[in-house]
């Protein structure tokens, strides 16, 4: 316990005068996509607002969401949940054969009484643990927006799934409502994959909360608009694979205190402003923030651009590395780390290390045949 307190104090120091930023299922899903990135792990654990940080160091991220998409998403969720989820219950019963009986509907998210996350979580926990047993038997139950909790990199993170359905005599099913269409039984693969990872985060959180793996089904229910309409369609999605990956990655995420121990003691990313009410000058200047970023190592890959707010900064920093051109490029170049080194080996100006002999020979051949081929085709436009 004393240890945890120390870590929290340390993270608070890194964050400085700002309140911590809340994690959500999407950021956890993204975190697991690049678990080797220490910079991301530290900033996320400390709850630093990466979007504002990127802005302050001169690499603003283009991560806005269109108002149209938000409106559509909210409208669809409202429609599905209208009248105590009658529409959804019909779907779960007819299409998925879930026996929910005359399920009751409980909204665990409606109460915005300002009791704080912890209180809301305690209510949700009590209802989820007792709820099914407490109800008089034959019926299932739908819980709207229960607040769950999951430990990520040593930190407690609050999560809010769209819905959790309890099937009498069975198990909980996580229900995820998304507004991308399922057209002729097919949907955008990337979006389904993202939804599956996100749902897997909820399944994991719910399993940890209930303390039993078999209490929560590995089949989640994805509710989407059908074809080009607003009519909802429900499909089962098996997230066993995502759960395995997620558990593996969460366990692998270096425990945050080990990471912190390796960092300088005065490391901070304070985005706040001095003076009462925060109206004064920034606590840290842009170059101080940039210097601080340089002290925590990152692992940039092009995929970061669609997942992390700091990606543009890291991309600039990673310029000259073969991985910045794509993992496939680095592999094709024999796993050589930097562009300069790969080209040096290819052009015979660098001496290969013992384990690079094979890669160097391949690169020399590549450089020779490319020069030959482009030379043979000289005169072609763009051959400059």
């Amino acid at each position: 316990m004393r240890h945890e307190g120390k870590t929290e104090a340390r993270l608070a120091r890194i964050r400085g005068s700002e309140p911590p930023r809340r994690h959500n299922a999407r950021t956890i899903a993204a975190l697991t996509s690049n678990p080797g990135c220490a910079r991301r792990a530290v900033l996320d654990a400390a709850g630093v607002d990466k979007e504002r940080l990127a802005d302050r160091v001169g690499f603003p991220a283009a991560f806005g969401q269109s108002r149209f998409a938000i409106v559509r998403g909210n409208a669809f969720e409202r429609q599905v949940k209208a009248d105590g989820c009658v529409e959804l219950l019909r779907l779960l019963r007819d299409l998925l054969g879930l026996d929910l009986g005359d399920a009751t509907y409980t909204d665990l998210g409606a109460d915005d009484s300002g009791e704080g996350l912890d209180a809301r979580h305690r209510v949700a926990k009590a209802r989820l643990v007792d709820g099914p047993a407490g109800s008089d038997g034959a019926n299932g139950e739908l819980f709207d927006h229960p607040l769950l909790r999951l430990e990520v990199a040593g930190q407690e993170v609050y999560l809010e799934p769209d819905l959790v359905a309890f099937q009498h005599g069975g198990a909980y099913h996580v229900v995820e409502i998304k507004s991308f269409p399922v057209i002729d039984g097919q949907a955008d693969g990337e979006k389904v994959a993202a939804a599956a990872v996100q749902a897997a985060v909820y399944v994991l959180a719910l399993r940890r909360l209930l303390g039993r793996d078999d209490a929560v089904s590995h089949e989640v229910v994805l509710v989407c608009p059908k074809d080009f309409s607003n009519v909802p369609i429900a499909v089962r999605l098996d997230v066993r694979r995502q759960l395995i990956v997620l558990e593996h990655q969460l366990a692998r995420l270096t425990r945050i205190d080990t990471l912190l121990d390796a960092l300088p003691d005065d490391l901070a990313f304070d985005l706040g402003q001095a003076g009462p009410g925060g109206g004064g000058s920034p606590m840290m200047a842009a170059d101080a923030l940039t210097a601080a970023l340089g002290r925590v190592s990152a692992r940039y890959v092009p995929g970061c651009l669609s997942a992390c707010e700091l990606a543009f900064y890291c991309r600039g920093e990673a310029a000259g590395h073969t991985a910045a051109l794509g993992i496939g490029v680095r592999e094709e170049l024999g796993g050589v780390g930097t562009v300069a080194e790969a080209l040096g080996l290819a052009h015979g100006t660098a001496v290969p290390a013992a384990d690079q002999a094979e890669a160097a020979a391949m690169l020399r051949t590549t450089a020779r045949v490319y020069a030959e081929a482009v030379g043979d085709a000289a005169g072609a436009p763009g051959a400059a």
């Binding site: 283009a62 269109s66 149209f68 269409p181 608009p225 669609s306 794509g326 081929a373 043979d376 763009g382």
Partner: protein
């Protein structure tokens, strides 16, 4: 990703300028391709917001849907786009046709390669634009196509070519085809007749785009990436503006700098179909809001005056080709509406049109710049043959729609047999296409040289008049050449290889022996040298000639025979129910 492309990317990253990964153009470019830049509304299922479309950079049509959530407006947009696309299709079909040749025999014509250049450059017939006499290597494939087309006696000389900015643009075409092809022209939800026809043609285009060797519908980013490597990742290459900046930067700055600038959505709006979220929130949403209010006001006035909804019969799509007198027309047609009601409506339309135009026009110009860049490359030797197949497919689909009075829309899903057949055809065409590209282009061939599947070397010895007995005891001419190469050949003895310089001639590796760190490859040749006992000079490689040989060949590998659809086994769901469009298809809500 090949090692050559990876190396070219590294070079580009170091120098800040894109590097060529092709020396010839591997795609067909029509004289007047139809460029289509679609935009959709975020969050909706492929709801069109606007499209800029045309075959002439100077004369585009801009179609705008002022309220993309309105179902009637979507169909009105589909009708306008349909008129445009069908007009283009008809122009292609009316440009004349040629008789389809009877299936060619797989035998190469005698002395077919006699005219092949002696001592040809590596890569052979570059830039001539003359189809390579395919000889025995590809005739089987051609025979298949020819047989399939035999029922149709004509093949159009011109086929449609549609260019969209990126892969998402291809998806737009596919989904918009899906959402329009089943619509009914009669009944409660009737749409103009052109709408389901648009759907059929868009679906035809999208299905052709699945075929890597087809140039009927192309994503510009992919066509460019086939020819140039940038110093950024493939993911970043999906941004057309950034990709073009690397390849063709403005004067005075490097490709890298230009690409960074082009990533700013304020400088280069996204090539769509999804628009920039900031643009949505700051510009488009208020403009659409003002339009909604203006339309509501007009409807209110019409209601008060006891006239029917003026937009019911005349959906309010903005078409840039129409003269800008909509205001005058409205004022005279709607005597019940005061100018204070018409004014805001006209202003809202103008506002939306201007905003959308500013987002779409930069991409439009980029598309045409890219067309010119690609056009500057000489076409690869096999491009006309591949385009002929595109023309054949177009001709037969056009004839089907004409003869069957519109025909049936393409099914939602393929049956098991149809899907297996389609997949096998795609795999075969992909293999043939990759072999073609290496054959046509020394830069593409270079990748296979690094992996040891192809080699370039100099002929050090040749025995032109060698004759051996074949298995029937007949003497046949089988010249032997020895090629010395520095390439790391990784081919076993007995491998069949072929040289782009003499496509009708095949060779078998008979021995490989190392000499001074290089390799001596002995090849036994057959075919492509005529019937004379001693092959004519030039038909067999001469000492001193520099040659390339590749083992990546488009051999017609036939897949196992598939049953007829009505014999589909139970393991695959049994025979599929014959597809009949139902009323449900047409009724499908679209809002």
């Amino acid at each position: 990703m090949s090692v050559i492309v990876a190396y070219a990317r590294a070079l580009a990253a170091q120098t800040g300028a894109a590097r060529p990964v092709a020396s010839v153009r591997h795609v067909h470019l029509a004289q007047a391709p139809l460029v289509l830049v679609p935009l959709t509304m975020a969050g909706e299922a492929n709801a069109p917001l606007a499209a800029m479309v045309g075959t002439d950079e100077a004369d585009p049509a801009l179609l705008v849907v002022p309220q993309p959530r309105d179902r009637d407006l979507r169909f009105a947009f589909a009708a306008l786009l349909g008129d445009f696309l069908l007009g283009y299709v008809e122009r292609c079909a009316s440009a004349g046709s040629e008789p389809v040749k009877p299936p060619r025999t797989p035998k190469p014509p005698a002395g077919g390669a006699a005219g092949a250049p002696v001592g040809a450059r590596v890569g052979g017939a570059v830039g001539g634009g003359v189809p390579v006499e395919a000889g025995d290597l590809r005739a089987e494939e051609d025979a298949l196509v020819a047989a399939a087309e035999a029922a149709r006696s004509e093949r159009f000389l011109v086929a449609p070519q549609v260019l969209v900015p990126n892969r998402a643009g291809v998806d737009f075409v596919r989904l918009f085809g899906r959402s329009t092809r089943f619509r009914s022209t009669v009944g409660q939800n009737a749409v103009p007749a052109v709408v389901p026809m648009l759907g059929r043609w868009l679906t035809f285009l999208a299905q052709r785009a699945e075929n890597p060797s087809s140039s009927t519908l192309m994503a510009m980013t992919e066509a460019l990436a086939l020819h140039w490597a940038t110093g950024q990742s493939a993911l970043e290459d999906a941004n057309l503006a950034a990709l073009m900046a690397w390849i063709d930067p403005p004067d005075g700055i490097s490709g890298r700098e230009a690409a960074r600038l082009a990533e700013d959505p304020l400088v280069s709006p996204p090539a769509g179909p999804t628009t920039d979220p900031l643009f949505d929130n700051r510009v488009l949403a208020p403009a659409i809001g003002a339009y909604d209010e203006a339309v509501a006001l007009l409807r209110e006035k019409a209601d008060a005056a006891g006239v029917p909804d003026p937009f019911r019969t005349d959906p309010d799509i903005i078409d840039s080709r129409l003269a800008d007198d909509r205001g005058l027309a409205a004022a005279s047609a709607w005597p019940w509406a005061s100018s204070s009601a018409i004014g805001p409506w006209l202003r809202a339309r103008e506002e939306i049109t201007g905003a959308v135009r500013a987002q779409i026009e930069p991409t439009w110009r980029l598309m045409w710049r890219a067309v010119r860049l690609l056009g500057d490359l000489p076409p690869a030797a096999s491009v006309p043959r591949r385009w002929e197949r595109d023309r054949a497919r177009f001709s037969s689909y056009y004839a089907y729609l004409r003869d069957e009075d519109g025909g049936l829309p393409q099914a939602r899903r393929d049956g098991a047999v149809a899907a297996a057949r389609r997949l096998a055809a795609l795999e075969r065409e992909l293999a043939a296409y990759e072999a073609d590209r290496a054959f046509d282009d020394p830069v593409v061939l270079a990748s296979y040289r690094v992996t040891g599947e192809a080699f370039v070397g100099t002929v050090v010895a040749a025995e032109r008049d060698r004759r051996v007995a074949n298995e029937r005891g007949t003497l046949v001419t089988r010249p032997v050449v020895e090629v010395r190469t520095a390439d790391p050949v990784r081919l076993p003895v007995g491998t069949k290889v072929c040289s782009p310089a003499r496509p009708g001639q095949s060779a078998v590796i008979t021995s490989l022996s190392p000499v001074d760190g290089e390799l001596l490859v002995s090849l036994e040749l057959s075919g492509g040298m005529g019937r004379a006992k001693v092959p004519p000079p030039g038909s067999v490689p001469e000492p001193g000639e520099r040659l390339s040989y590749t083992s990546v060949l488009a051999d017609g590998a036939f897949s196992a025979a598939l049953p007829a659809p009505e014999d589909t086994p139970w393991t695959h769901g049994g025979p599929p129910a014959p597809y009949e469009p139902t009323d449900d298809d047409a009724r499908e809500t679209w809002a």
